[in-house]
Symmetry: C2
Subunit: 225 residues, 2 copies
């Protein structure tokens, strides 16, 4: 049973990789910097995304977002308050986003009008790690309430990410969050990974986060131009 | 591609169901009451499990636990402090536990000596919902820090569970946890589901939780005797 299933899984993945590569070329061609946000359910992806979109929009940047969930359009409805184009991908039980879901949902959008495209993945620290969405930057979020050991227990996700955002930093004291241990564990899995601390609720670190993304986009544009 | 993969997935699931049924018969035959704990990563499964095992052990109940993780033996090492038999299942990248992993890891244990067997699943609110482990009770845990919308966004998991435990209740105020909304959302997905509030850190609700489990076991034993 297993080898055949594995073989098919590999075929699906390689099909996904080809499609992701096409998307990546499209994104580069249109100067759209794309982020894939992954985390546990409830780590605060949507809250930070709302703050990020709002701040970028107010700063005159052109941004859009795709948000993935197993069920409900709640996140898209919430994010629309930021005033930027938002579309929901309802996966209907599938535990991660795939490149073809992203491609289909982009239909009709003119990528060349977006400086940034944010993709919020399904809340899941395991399965989304295997699916490239053609992003420039994979962002793993981890809230202070989840425990400092998450990088060690979900190494594939942390290893495949490019930057780590520690969220809900306003709750650090209430949770007795051990910052040194968290950094140590992140670095054990992905040495040197850039780490940013934020609280969307208290507007801590959001400006630094936005500045960082703008810099990352500039660096990517310089590289491809 | 997809239909063939789906077909194979269904075959794997039905093989799992057959094995789970065998396990369920074994558990019943040995009067072992079995729980399958599912939740997001970092919702506090291991902390509540440690408190539960310790309290039951001190009360003279015979308990054991299997703990699932993608990587590391950290949880098993932590739980061994409770003084009860613990075994780790390292899934090596697989995002959920399956019945055959449970069966293999039980090898050499005399089930008839255990009143309770706790199975802590991999932290994942999606994939474990499809895999029956032969348990008597599926417990979904949700911490106050994750947001009240989790039942709506992960309906399959909440719908397949028998009881919900709200964890980290000591952080409710710091998180502005909306209890009424959380209960409403759980009931929207699984009407009438029993809900218990706990804080392992502050020892809130743990005794009620243990009493509840003892009652559930008695009810199950009466039914099968």
């Amino acid at each position: 049973m297993k080898p055949r299933l594995l073989e098919l899984k590999e075929a699906v993945l390689s099909k996904n990789d080809l499609l992701a590569e096409e998307l990546r070329n499209d994104f580069a061609h249109n100067n759209t910097f794309v982020l894939n946000w992954v985390s546990s359910p409830g780590s605060g992806k949507t809250a930070l995304l709302e703050a990020t979109l709002t701040q970028m929009h107010e700063a005159g940047l052109s941004v859009a977002a795709l948000v993935g969930d197993l069920a409900t359009e709640n996140d898209a409805n919430r994010l629309k308050r930021s005033g930027v184009p938002i579309r929901q991908i309802v996966t209907d039980g599938i535990c991660h986003l795939e490149a073809d879901m992203v491609r289909n949902r982009l239909d009709g959008w003119d990528l060349s009008t977006f400086d940034f495209l944010f993709i919020e993945n399904v809340g899941n620290l395991v399965c989304p790690s295997s699916y490239d969405l053609g992003e420039n930057l994979r962002v793993v979020l981890m809230s202070v309430t989840e425990g400092e050991d998450k990088p060690l227990k979900y190494p594939t996700m942390f290893n495949s990410a490019d930057v780590a955002v520690i969220t809900k930093i306003d709750l650090a004291e209430a949770c007795e969050f051990d910052r040194r241990l968290a950094y140590e564990n992140i670095n054990a899995i992905r040495p040197g990974m850039h780490i940013i601390e934020t609280s969307a609720k208290k507007a801590i670190g959001v400006s630094d986060w936005v500045d960082f993304l703008v810099q990352m986009r500039q660096a990517a544009m310089t590289k491809t131009s």
